[in-house]
């Protein structure tokens, strides 16, 4: 790779990183796993003058499960999340999503914070993060703010993270019925990114759906909650007919469907419906 020249910093604390960000402003870019930033630098689609590598900030790596909340440091890698025993128990959707990202090398380097900030429309995390109603914590030298997942993805490759901010953690309320969840995807044959990805987290009592949250990625320029499917499921007995009817609305919230050499918009819409159905069926079966 032959990127343009840049200055490289590897701060050890968040404060130091924030200070560097403030000092260099728009000319600086945060580097975490580098699996999205480095390709951008390589193609010179961006040529930041300063790269701030946050990979050595230990506190950004922590994964904590206490009481009713789960906290994942922005720099936790996909592999670390996939392997975390607490998460497997208290929020298997996270571990399951992480395990399906790219391949082992990508999972060893890529981080949840980097993936969310990058807001690739085919990334896996957004579906799960939306389905879990997560909150993303971002810090700048001005202070700390918390962004709801629903407000986080703004457009294609655009998240709510400002250029002076660092995402520090992702907070999730423990799901009431952790096991009633699944992430299913169709990987793009070259990259592994999601042609479609559906995350479903349910709450089911005696076969009846009390709550459903469904995140869909890969279909639209930004990931979204399939609220029409959710509305159609809540209150219903989760039989095949009900699930079929509800999942037929999986693309209702997508005004535009993405199209590329890997899949047409129509096919993506179809896959969203099929995978919403399969995800709900699978999650319900685990409930």
């Amino acid at each position: 790779m032959i990127p343009a020249n840049f200055e490289y910093f590897a701060p050890k604390t968040i404060e130091e990183a924030l200070q560097l960000l403030e000092q260099h402003g728009e000319d600086a870019k945060i580097l975490s796993g580098g699996h999205s930033l480095i390709p951008v630098l390589k193609l010179r689609l961006a040529s930041p003058g300063v790269v701030i590598d946050i990979g050595r900030i230990a506190e950004l790596k922590a994964i904590k499960v206490d009481g009713s909340t789960i906290s994942i440091g922005a720099n936790a890698t996909h592999a670390e999340i996939a392997a975390n025993a607490d998460l497997k128990t208290h929020c298997p959707l996270l571990a399951e999503t992480a395990a399906q990202i790219g391949d082992q090398q990508v999972r060893n380097r890529g981080t949840i914070g980097g993936s969310l900030t990058h807001a690739d429309p085919a990334a896996d995390w957004p579906a799960a993060i939306l389905a879990l109603d997560a909150e993303i914590v971002a810090r700048s030298s001005q202070g700390t703010r918390t962004i709801k997942a629903a407000d986080f993805f703004l457009d294609l490759m655009t998240s709510a993270v400002e250029s002076d901010e660092i995402v520090t953690e992702i907070r999730i309320a423990k799901p009431e019925q952790p096991a009633a969840a699944v992430y299913l995807k169709v990987p793009q044959s070259a990259s592994g990114f999601a042609v479609i990805g559906v995350a479903a987290q349910l709450k089911v009592t005696n076969g009846k759906c009390e709550a459903a949250s469904i995140g869909v990625t890969g279909l639209a320029p930004k990931a979204f909650r399939a609220s029409s499917v959710e509305a159609a499921l809540v209150g219903k007995t989760l039989d095949e007919a009900a699930i079929n009817a509800a999942s037929a609305k999986a693309d209702a919230e997508a005004d535009d469907a993405m199209e590329d050499i890997h899949a047409s918009g129509d096919y993506r819409r179809h896959l969203a419906r099929v995978f919403a159905k399969r995800a709900v069926l699978a999650a319900a079966a685990k409930a």
């Binding site: 032959i2 390709p39 044959s189 050499i261 179809h270």
Partner: protein
């Protein structure tokens, strides 16, 4: 020659692997010379354009820049990129190493920036302003042959580079006598070879000595030396080409590209080492592609399944220029159109056309996968039409072992073969009848299971010199050193095939020594005698044959000296286990002792030539024809079109196996590539000639987790073409697997009346077919 079987036939671990696995081997980019300058090449962004002007002023004054060169600088000084394939009437466009006023594909080199490091070179390249005047673009091969197409090389007035007819037999009467004529149009998509190590060149010119060393990641160091010397107008013996570790080639490094001569020329201007390492993006744009044929095939057949004739009218997409063997590749397709069947009349009518894309050339299989895919796909179409089992149709038309050497209507003589043996073995492994029953049962339940068979034969061990543009012999030197260690110099240029191991096994057994005492040296034109190189599954079958012959000469010479040392006559001696034995006095002498005596010739026969070394240039009298049967079982997801491979069985016959583990490795890699062609690989250009699959993020190279377990076995039908009886296995997996996979998936879709689908069999395509 008799062989001790201590090593030959054993699954000896590859001696190459430890250094490669540890990352301590040396590829071109690992060769570091002091004061090296780095070259970045500015490439065309347009598929077809006139270059109105190039402004390099800003680039020349950019920090660290030593020089910037354009087409004007090299015109008349560096020869054109060579094409060695001579077809009658071939239109060969001039292909300058830097564009001369015009570009014809995205990625064509326009300017070279030389700087103190690659970053500065790239910064400066970004400052070059090229004023393009875009021309109309043609990317579709069939459209390119039409008279209303934009013409790429005006001097020819047409995009047709050549027309080629192949085959013999009375094709008209074959079709006149046919009960049925089965016709299908098939597309072989364009593929990118994607060696893990891209290309790279390091050139170092010594003006005092007037000698140049060129390190290049190539499969053909000697042919490269000759061609680059010609391009640079320098004496061939003053150019040394060194091929260090090569991280894969698959045919894409069986070529001479712009960059080798360009770097050589630059080295002669700047008098410092210059290095260029291809980026992956450049690799997609400017390293040859493979396949890319579109054509219509017709088969004339009797109702009982007897094949009468095959006609193939095909357009070959050559790309914008001709690389080393570009036009030769479709002619190989023509040679293999008989498959492993008796087809009395065959005719291929091929039109080779220019398009505004990268050149096509040899990619693993090189013309033969196209033939095999075509024939094997058509066999299924014929079987469907005749309502015959596809296996029975194949079996009915196979020549029997007694019919070998088997003459084909394409003018070949298949050396040896027992096609039914491999077929039966594969059928037994698959439990074919049971599979068919299971398939019928699954269909009743709405599951789409497919069973695909391909029985292939391919042409390897390239080949008799008369049939190849640069000759097809191979060379080897066996040098027993004074201490008894053995150095092998081979003219082949292995880059993943494992000949360092296989050749050491052969020498270990032939000389009765520890194979670890053998060092195999290749890829340095100043050390190794002239050779042809590695391609066309020839390394072992031709290069190994040369090695056997050279070793025989060494043993013969050693025997003369041994007889002298043992004071007996040669006739009484035999060479066993590294020792000359049988002397009446019961004394023996080892090859190592003989070697020492040969180098310190104090006690030798009169006229004895000191030393113990021999070279042999082996000329094969024919190609070899490996064959086999592949069976693929797949399931298509009714809702999504997704394909899952349930089982994959391959029984291959490459003749005698020197190292069954290496054979399996070659088969594994081959199946992976062939299956990927069937399922997802494809180079895609848009209608403006822009490359849409320009990164590994979009071009799907197969990964282990995308592939099934391969159930392998083999049969052994030796060849008499070479002393090893080995046929070659480098390409077989690729050739057999594409049609087996395609036939399987298309068979799965039979309930929808689908008879053919062009590759790759991407889920969306299948989904659409099921919903029309």
């Amino acid at each position: 020659m008799s062989f001790l079987a201590k090593y030959i036939g054993q699954k000896v671990k590859r001696t190459e692997d430890p250094r490669l696995v540890k990352g301590i081997g040396h590829y071109v980019d690992d060769i570091k010379l002091a004061d090296t300058l780095h070259v970045v090449i500015l490439r065309s962004q347009y598929a077809h354009a006139k270059i109105v002007s190039i402004n390099t002023d800003a680039a020349k004054t950019s920090p660290g820049v030593v020089a910037v060169y354009t087409g004007a600088d090299v015109a008349g000084k560096v020869g054109f990129v060579p094409c060695a394939a001579a077809l009658p009437g071939l239109n060969v466009p001039k292909y300058p190493v830097l564009a001369d006023g015009k570009v014809a594909f995205v990625g064509q080199p326009i300017a070279a920036v030389v700087a103190t490091d690659k970053y500065k070179a790239r910064d400066a390249a970004d400052l070059i302003e090229v004023d393009y005047d875009p021309l109309d673009v043609v990317t579709d091969a069939e459209a390119s042959a039409q008279s209303d197409s934009p013409v790429i090389h005006e001097e020819f007035g047409t995009n047709v580079a050549f027309t080629h007819q192949a085959g013999t037999g009375d094709i008209d009467s074959a079709f006149a006598q046919a009960d049925k004529i089965v016709k299908e149009k098939l597309n072989h998509q364009r593929l990118a070879p994607i060696s893990m190590e891209p290309r790279g060149v390091l050139a170092h010119y010594l003006p005092g000595e007037e000698q140049m060393t060129l390190w290049s990641s190539t499969q053909i160091p000697h042919l490269m030396r000759t061609q680059v010397a010609i391009m640079l107008g320098m004496a061939e013996n003053r150019l040394r080409v060194i091929t260090p570790e090569v991280g894969g080639g698959f045919g894409c490094k069986l070529n001479v590209y712009s960059e080798e001569a360009l770097l050589g020329w630059i080295a002669m201007q700047v008098h410092k080492p210059v290095k260029w390492i291809e980026s992956r993006r450049e690799n997609f744009q400017a390293t040859i592609h493979g396949r890319a044929q579109v054509g219509t095939c017709e088969i004339a057949v009797k109702n009982d399944g007897t094949l009468l004739g095959l006609r193939y009218n095909v357009t070959a997409d050559l790309g914008a220029y001709l690389q080393l063997l570009t036009p030769a590749i479709p002619t190989l397709t023509g040679l293999m159109l008989s498959g492993c069947y008796k087809i009395p009349a065959i005719q291929m009518n091929c039109v080779g056309v220019f398009t505004n894309k990268m050149s096509t050339d040899a990619y693993r299989g090189a013309g033969r996968p196209e033939a095999t895919y075509l024939v094997e796909r058509m066999m299924d179409c014929v079987a469907l039409e005749l309502k015959m089992d596809p296996v029975e149709l194949r079996r009915k038309n196979m020549p029997k072992p007694s019919e070998f050497p088997f003459p084909t209507a394409t003018g070949l003589f298949y050396d040896s073969g027992d096609y039914e043996k491999a077929l039966d073995k594969a059928l037994a492994m698959a439990d074919y009848q049971k599979l068919r029953a299971e398939q019928a049962e699954a269909r009743k339940q709405g599951r789409l299971i497919g069973i695909g068979v391909s029985t292939y034969v391919e042409i390897c061990a390239m080949g008799p010199s008369i049939a190849l543009p640069a000759g097809g012999w191979e060379s080897a030197t066996v040098r027993v050193e004074p201490t008894g260690k053995v150095t092998v110099l081979t003219g082949v240029s292995p880059h993943g095939q494992g000949e360092e191991t296989a050749f050491a096994q052969i020498i270990g057994d032939m000389l009765g020594i520890d194979m670890n005492d053998v060092l195999v040296i290749h890829g340095d034109t100043s050390i190794v005698q002239y050779g042809i190189g590695t391609f066309g599954s020839r390394g072992l079958a031709v290069g190994g044959a040369a090695l056997v012959k050279a070793a025989e000469k060494v043993v013969a010479k050693a025997k003369t000296l041994a007889a002298h040392l043992l004071q007996t006559d040669e006739a009484s001696l035999t060479f066993e286990n590294g020792k000359f034995v049988g002397a009446p006095n019961d004394k023996s002498v080892s090859i190592q002792e003989v070697a020492l005596a040969a180098y310190i010739p104090h006690n030798v026969p009169e006229d004895f030539e000191p030393g113990l070394t021999a070279t042999h240039f082996f000329e094969p009298k024919n190609f070899t024809f490996p064959s086999g049967t592949h069976i693929c079982v797949s399931e298509v997801d009714r809702e999504t079109g997704d394909v899952k491979i349930l089982r994959y069985i391959a029984v291959d016959d490459c003749g005698n196996q020197i190292n069954p583990m290496i054979v399996q490795g070659q088969i594994h890699g081959g199946i992976a590539q062939g299956m990927a062609q069937a399922l997802f690989e494809e180079v895609v250009y848009d209608e403006n000639g822009q490359l849409l699959t320009g990164e590994l993020m979009d071009y799907a190279v197969p990964k282990a987790h995308q592939l099934p377990f391969f159930e392998l076995d083999h049969t052994v039908t030796p060849t008499d073409v070479n002393p090893l009886g080995a046929k070659g296995v480098g390409e077989a997996g690729t050739i057999g697997s594409t049609p087996a996979t395609a036939n399987s998936v298309i068979d799965a879709l039979a309930p929808f009346g689908v008879t053919h689908v062009d590759l790759p069999l991407r889920p969306e395509k299948l989904w659409k077919l099921m919903n029309n």
